[in-house]
Symmetry: C2
Subunit: 732 residues, 2 copies
Amino acid sequence: MKQMRIILSILFLLTFAVSQAQHPIAFFNNADIVAVKSGINKYPLLTQSFNSVKAEVDAYLGKSVDVPFPKDPAGGYTHDRHKNNYMLMFNSGVLYNITGKVAYATLVKEMLLKYAVLNPTLKNHPQATSASPGHLFWQALNDANWMVYSGLAYDLIYNSLTPTERTTIEDGAFKPEVDFVTKDLKTWFDLLHNHAVWACAGVGIIGIATNNNDYVEMALKGSDKNGKSGFIAQMNHLFSPDGYYTEGPYYVRYAILPYILFANALNNTQPGLQIFKHRNNILQKALLTCLQQTNLDGTFFPLNDDIKDKNYTTNELVTAIDIAWKAYGPNEGLLTVAKKQNRVILHRGGADIAAAIATRKNIPNYFPYKTIESTDGINGDEGGVSVLRVGKNDDLTSMVFKYTAQGMGHGHFDKLNINLFDKGNEILQDYGSARFIGIEQKYGGRYLPENTSYASQTIAHNTLVVDEESHFKGDSKLGEAYHSEKLFSSINNPNIQYTLAAENNAYPGVAMKRGIYVIVLPNAKKIVVDLFNVNASATHQYDLPFQYKGQFISTNYKYTANTKKQETLGTKAGYQFLWKVASAQVKDTVAQFTFLNKQSYYTVSSLIKGDATILFTNTGANDPNFNIRTEPSMIIRKSGSNECFVNVVEIHGNYDPVNEFSSNSYSSVSAINLLENNQDYTAVAITIAGKKLQLIQSNKDFSTTATHQIKNNQINIKWVGPYTVLYDGKSF
Amino acid sequence: MKQMRIILSILFLLTFAVSQAQHPIAFFNNADIVAVKSGINKYPLLTQSFNSVKAEVDAYLGKSVDVPFPKDPAGGYTHDRHKNNYMLMFNSGVLYNITGKVAYATLVKEMLLKYAVLNPTLKNHPQATSASPGHLFWQALNDANWMVYSGLAYDLIYNSLTPTERTTIEDGAFKPEVDFVTKDLKTWFDLLHNHAVWACAGVGIIGIATNNNDYVEMALKGSDKNGKSGFIAQMNHLFSPDGYYTEGPYYVRYAILPYILFANALNNTQPGLQIFKHRNNILQKALLTCLQQTNLDGTFFPLNDDIKDKNYTTNELVTAIDIAWKAYGPNEGLLTVAKKQNRVILHRGGADIAAAIATRKNIPNYFPYKTIESTDGINGDEGGVSVLRVGKNDDLTSMVFKYTAQGMGHGHFDKLNINLFDKGNEILQDYGSARFIGIEQKYGGRYLPENTSYASQTIAHNTLVVDEESHFKGDSKLGEAYHSEKLFSSINNPNIQYTLAAENNAYPGVAMKRGIYVIVLPNAKKIVVDLFNVNASATHQYDLPFQYKGQFISTNYKYTANTKKQETLGTKAGYQFLWKVASAQVKDTVAQFTFLNKQSYYTVSSLIKGDATILFTNTGANDPNFNIRTEPSMIIRKSGSNECFVNVVEIHGNYDPVNEFSSNSYSSVSAINLLENNQDYTAVAITIAGKKLQLIQSNKDFSTTATHQIKNNQINIKWVGPYTVLYDGKSF
């Protein structure tokens, strides 16, 4: 018996010694720590980042930090306290390793011991409304956040703890959470979805921190360890081969954090996995793709649900960029973004970036934005999104053309949608999501009901609405079954960027095809030509909205404004949120509408064949809680079966209120003619600045070598390939 | 005969020689030129400014510049061409003196010779709609601008011209314009008004440039040379002794340019006048006062008509600051502004500023903003405006409290109006003017009809509207007869900035008195307390609007929103532009309304005694031309005779959408009690963050030594002086 105890003790001590050698390892290891330490004295950005983390943590040193019983929704006290707590523990753990000061470890330990008391007592959060309720928070996603950072924190102070303390924390603080997400929420844990990425990262990091291989296995291969779910499956399933994340850049920004933190931990513990190289560097692609999908000010393009203020200086991307720098090596674009982030994490990657910023001169002001086309879908065969760009630096023009799959629960009904950005400003906007994140008064900071009833509806976008109903009748499940398709694109001519895409399932019996041309004319004028074909056997009401941002300047047609009384434009599918501000009856004309955004004018010139109505609306109706921003739109409404909407969006002139100058406030477009439009071809001539711009596209044959000819009473032209664009008779 | 001719020739040569010695003199003289020249090689800002002017002018060198027959309104081709022309001539003249290159002089000469042909043929401009029509432009004001810069340009190339050329230009280009403004528009020329300042400066500068003392005399003393009008009278009459300009900062920005340019020319030619010292350095005071009346971003406070984008980087203020630097010596605040202007004029002052910027380190980021109270009226006895400030740098809070005279034709009906700025953002806004300057489609770039029908009406402001009628029935003439009055102010305690002002003429039989307190509580919280007393013998409808900027977050009372149909709030006095969005019936309560602006929350807590209605509105009704921006307001409506509106505007919390944090989104105000309100005193207690804030003001006796006491069932307090403010029973 006594011998047995001695043997057990020796075994235990051995284990302890091994463990001692193994930690910290999840966030960084001893070699990394040496590098960070030495950099703090050398590189201002690292010094500053260290001081700022230190100041934050020091405010709590020696104090008893509250670990309250969970009660409040997002934005409320207990929510924010627990959110603060896990970051505080993580930061304090990092500081312990850098400074060696025991007080930092003690702070973490005492908090973890409180969680060890609290967590076993928890049931579903009282404010839980989600299908995956949390324990510490209203939703399990936040519990997973807690697991990631608390796991890292534990690993960081592992060496300072006694075996008893370890057991208490592992059994009390972590096990209930791991069991909760892997058992109670097994189905959720095994989803291929960003929430589950967090859950796997949380369980995996806790596994590494607690030397629990069972946890690590579940994290990598799913709760059944069969590889059908779990982290590896998530790396294979959540991104397209190009690194596009189906929920959009706002969500990849969020999803990338657990990916990169867990990959970093795996790379430290199982280098043989070569996790960063997995699927041709998929994490690097995801990061660079999401950075390309930002506006000049660093805000993410609002594809699907998106908080429009969110930009690439967010904590998630600081972490991702710093770790990617270590994992994938230096990158010019990342350096630009890191400089704007103006902080680094206290990690080897952060230290190396701080060094690069300290020594490199002339770091470019803007991320190296370029035209980028991303496929959607695991195999890259479920449509995609094009960002067509012309111009550079602060004169960049970006056209976002979306022909993706649905994008899961956060997807909007926005097939063939376009968004235009110019000079860093939104010109044709996407509403984004209806949410005031973290503001308790606004539905507890969650997605507002108006996110579903308005923001995700088709009419809130810049794409065709048929019969006042959203794509797929606004049913995500139905939408998930389909995706749009790119038919052709050409992005090698910097003056003519062209993408043609089709959507045939959003409305039964209605085929939609949109060709978007972003053009720099030889006179340097920038225009977008939008050829939107819709074909149906029956007659429908077609609404093509332009969510313009700016001040209404003028139209070239008469309209009637509802000046004394306003009513809603419709009753459902988002129309109930629109006040009908004005309307015009137009016929066989080029209808022009000019608006002003900051210092530039924008004119939409619309070819109207036959009768059409043009509507001007403002959001605000049926919004008793003031949840929707007041935003205007111009809608072209046409009744018909086969229609071709030809619209030219022209960027022109300059308005300088400081120096009181205005130039070129009028459109240069004087005529638009549809020369041919059938199953095979669409051909358009636009008279602009007195010269003729001709655009001819093949609608069916996308061979680059095929020769085509159109010959009718308006045009006689031969060309090779899927399209041709001529200005004044010449290519450019 | 031959002798005679020789004598004439000698006389002519003598005159010529004298003239040679006298020019250039109006903009700068030879000594200044030497300083500018040497600085161009040394000081980057001067180099860059020189290069930029040179690039602009060089584009025209050797070309024939169009001097078209006037045809278009503001924003049209001929308008902009003539506007460009005078600046081009001036700049080319400056470059001629700096570089010695004859081509610059030739450019000016040829243009002036064209004007010498054109100007004698001109009658009133075809687009003239103003009472003072122009010849070259739609209004005479722009002709006066032309005179100022063309006059300077002529002086700058005087030495390069032959006597015949001089005669041609003086008689052809200048005399018709001078005769036009001094004879045809004699009444206008002799006004004491900013347009006439331009006219006098134009005539005076042409006088100096053409050695025509008659012109200079008319410019200085009016067309009758009796001193009742003209430049000196304008210096005496257009500013208050503090340098406040009755039309407001947006207009002083404009008016100061001819003042400073003509003063500069006079200082060079008649130093004995000591024009810059006139009226205790009134031009310097005007400049510094208008800079104090700007927001953190340099935009002018929108008092009266104001284009809100206009800021202190405008050309007028570059010129004014650079000349003031030479005239009045170095000034820390001017240096900050000059640095943000990022260009200087090619003048001795500009060169000296460029030198200071090149050598000085740590030029502060912000103008040295402080609390400033300016009187209005020539003698400083016609009310005024207080800018009460707390906080500093980017955390500055500025409360603009306006109790001025009418402000002439550009004045708004905004007696006792307040505007709140915080952290550089407009929180309680003034609409500014309804005008898209320079945009031809928008009423030729002129003030829109909505400037009168909406923007200048009382309901577009943050002050009391009685019976849905504007102050002085919206009649400027009537308004001109009166001014509000400051009763008392105390601005020495940085934590309690207080101004009390009264208006007794805006509505017959209605006396209004408003006390504005801008307070920093001992816990660092910033609040504004607004005690608005109104007294009348009859019963009236009182509307107190809050033109809030931001997103509606919540109210602590129930309201009814007009979700399906919207109608206008009223039919006149600006009310016809307001959609009635929602309304609430409230009674004997503290009604709280919270909104979010950028990253801060703002709550208006309103004491409601008895019954009141709270209205939420949006502009946009009766605006068929989309001339008005869509802006919200909250209006407290009360029926009564003697009422005291007690409102607390609280700045609180933080919203960080990037990092998804929200803190303190709820108001800390839990109670407001009106403890006493009569002719003598108003006493209020506000419970905020659990502690009592007491504000007691004398309404009649403003002696700083008088002792007062209020004793009733709610309060028993003794104090000395016109007011006392206590928090938790203590001064702070």
